[in-house]
């Protein structure tokens, strides 16, 4: 067994496990923590795919920024304590979810076993394209336009968040 295969197995099991914990925990803080773990596992998987820069950004952006925001809001609303019991599990929803998952997994298994992609090797260019240099070069040449467009997206989100979370409407503004 190669090292990569073992690493893949560890990260894959970790990712699935933490994902399941995320969606099943009653306490939202526990869910959030499991999700942070999930992001680290994914980061590891990206490393097995030689995507170093994506792996680093995954931890910085998701675990470092988005999850901090989520945990902050959970704490702000004080959901970790009194209200956690309010979520009753619904039989109907549970069944529906399980059915959906089962159906999807069966379809997926059928689709993949009947039609394997046959790609067994990482491309020889995989190491080269995963570096910061090549990502940066691509981002500021070929992907310049969507990159600039994302600035508008972040601006809209910024304004939107301020507007929605501001406490009072200014009277007579």
């Amino acid at each position: 067994m190669e090292v990569q295969v073992i690493l893949f197995a560890i990260f894959a099991v970790g990712a699935i496990g933490s994902a399941i914990v995320t969606v099943t925990r009653k306490n939202p803080v526990a869910s959030a923590m499991a999700l942070v773990g999930h992001f680290f596992m994914l980061s590891g998987l990206y490393l097995t795919l030689e995507a170093q820069f994506v792996a680093a950004v995954q931890v910085l952006v998701y675990a470092g920024a988005i999850m901090v925001l989520v945990v902050f809001v959970i704490m702000l609303l004080n959901l970790g304590t009194e209200q956690q019991l309010a979520e009753r599990s619904s039989y109907l929803r549970g069944t529906l979810g399980t059915l959906f998952a089962a159906l999807f997994v069966i379809l997926l298994a059928l689709a993949i076993t009947s039609n394997p992609s046959g790609a067994n090797q990482l491309s020889s260019k995989a190491v080269e394209i995963g570096t910061t240099e090549s990502i940066g070069q691509s981002l500021f040449t070929q992907y310049l336009f969507p990159f600039e467009a994302v600035s508008l997206l972040l601006l809209a989100a910024l304004i939107g968040a301020v507007i929605l979370a501001k406490r009072h409407v200014q009277e007579g503004a």
């Binding site: 689709a111 039609n115 992609s117 040449t141 070929q142 992907y143 310049l144 336009f145 969507p146 600039e148 467009a149 994302v150 600035s151 508008l152 997206l153 601006l155 809209a156 989100a157 304004i159 939107g160 968040a161 301020v162 507007i163 929605l164 501001k166 409407v169 200014q170 009277e171 007579g172 503004a173």
Partner: protein, 477 residues
């Protein structure tokens, strides 16, 4: 990398106006909504003007990321026009609710920018960013009345379901990328039509997931359930804007994507996909129209009718021909004016009568507001597809496109559901003209919303009587 700067002008202009100058204005000019309003109306007008100016510059720009001219430029003008009309209607509406904040106009312009990206997209990345820019602006606009619980609830529902649908959309994009090895429409189209897709199975899964994700954005069956609730809960001017321009944008993106992944006359799996889309279209229009009959609120009725119209529009995608695509463009234009006009009237009456969207409040409208009632009647006739209004010619084109491509059964369903729709559209007209008002009501001036209503009604009359005004433009692409 080639950058066709002239052709990209409208996109550059709106980006600069919003991202650089707009923010400075808002930072330094306080409590001057009039100025901000004027600035953003001016921005949209300038962008539309630049789009007309550069509509001849066809080709692609920014390394094939966006397409220019013709089709995309036309949609630029349409979205900017919709933005201006919605802003004009929004001023008096928000003023009455004492919720007129400068940020509303910023968000509206950023939504327009997102729509323009969707129409211009020639790469799935740009499409994705455009869809999200539009959607995020819409989420916030739906919840803009922060102290109104209905508005906040509709924003939450829109956000959660919208983000959920985005998940499917990007998963579809990932599968398309895996299947064809490219995110570029041209490359994807080549791979599909030459049958050189690396993994055809991923292509099929990707198509299904993309269709699911985009059908959420146009509110088509089976992902239409959010539409009535969100349209009902959101401020009416926002509903007017997102049910028209938002839908037009989704279709403007739908068109080239599906032209690439389901090229005409490839056969095999493409035909199956087409059939699936046809069934989706048929169910969408039936569900929309039948549920609309049962509604007692005019706002909800129009929301369901907008679901049905998404079904009609999908017929053009199913047809997949050039004629089908021009039918979509024509019908979208007509639909934008008639739906926007009727929602703005609903918003106006709501403003006047508190919760005015109940159908009972429309009784005797012809005596109180003869002009408004006449225009509302016109919009209803047009939505029902009765000549000589624009809705009729648009429907005719869509039906003809479907028959041409051999989907006669779909046309029969469409005609049948149009007949059903006549029932509730005419029901409203009967209410307005042949029943008496329950009591005396005070009237208000329409303010700038009057312009919106007037422009919309003139436009559907013009397009209905002289359809060649638009079909001539379409034929030059």
């Amino acid at each position: 990398m080639n950058i066709d700067f002239f052709g990209s002008l409208p996109l550059v202009a709106i980006w600069l106006a919003l991202g650089a100058i707009g923010i400075v204005i808002q930072a330094f000019v306080r409590n001057n909504t009039k100025l901000v309003f004027g600035y953003y109306v001016g921005t949209l007008a300038l962008t539309a003007f630049l789009a007309i100016l550069s509509s001849g510059a066809k080709g692609s720009s920014f390394g094939g990321m966006i397409v220019l001219g013709g089709y995309a430029a036309y949609f630029d003008v349409l979205f900017c026009g919709a933005g201006i009309l919605a802003m004009l209607a929004a001023r008096p509406y928000l003023d009455r609710l004492n919720a007129e904040l400068d940020e509303f106009y910023t968000l509206m312009v950023s939504a327009v920018a997102g729509m323009m990206l969707m129409a211009h997209a020639s790469n799935l990345v740009v499409l994705f960013v455009g869809v999200e820019l539009m959607s995020i602006s819409f989420y916030v606009m739906a919840g803009f009345l922060r102290t109104d619980i209905k508005s906040v609830e509709s924003a939450l529902k829109y956000f959660l379901l919208g983000a959920f649908a985005t998940g499917f959309l990007v998963y579809g994009m990932a599968m398309l990328y895996g299947g064809t090895g490219s995110l570029d429409y041209v490359e994807i189209g080549k791979a599909v039509s030459n049958g050189t897709a690396t993994y055809p199975m991923f292509l099929a899964i990707g198509t299904v997931l993309m269709a699911a994700g985009l059908s959420f954005k146009v509110a088509a069956f089976p992902f239409h359930q959010w539409a009535p609730d969100v349209y009902d809960g959101a401020p009416t001017v926002v509903t007017a804007f997102m049910s028209t321009a938002g839908k037009a944008a989704a279709f403007s993106a739908f068109n080239p994507v599906f032209a690439a992944i389901m090229p005409d006359g490839v056969g095999g799996i493409t035909d199956t996909m087409r059939l699936a889309l046809a069934v989706m279209a048929a169910v969408t229009m039936l569900v929309g129209n039948i549920t609309a009959i049962a509604q007692t609120s005019v706002k909800r009725m129009l929301a369901f009718s907008s679901v049905a119209h998404a079904g009609y529009l999908m017929m053009g995608i199913v047809a997949g021909t050039a004629y089908g695509h021009s039918a979509i463009v024509f019908y979208l234009t007509a639909y934008m004016f008639m739906q926007m006009g009727s929602f703005v009237i609903v918003g106006y009456l709501e403003r006047e009568q508190g919760d005015g969207s109940d159908i009972e409040n429309y009784s005797g409208l012809s005596k109180q507001h003869p002009m408004l009632a006449a225009m509302m009647a016109m919009f209803m006739f047009s939505l029902a597809g009765i000549p000589p209004f624009a809705g009729f010619f648009g429907k005719y084109m869509l039906f003809y496109a479907a028959i041409q491509s051999g989907y006669t059964w779909l046309t029969i369903v469409a005609v049948a559901s149009s007949v059903i729709s006549v029932y509730f559209y005419l029901g409203l007209i009967v209410k307005m003209y042949f029943t008496d008002a329950p009591g005396k009501k005070t009237t208000f001036a329409t303010g700038t919303a009057g312009f919106t209503i007037a422009i919309c009604s003139v436009a559907i009359l013009l397009l209905g009587i002289f359809p060649w005004l638009l079909t001539n433009i379409i034929s030059t692409w």
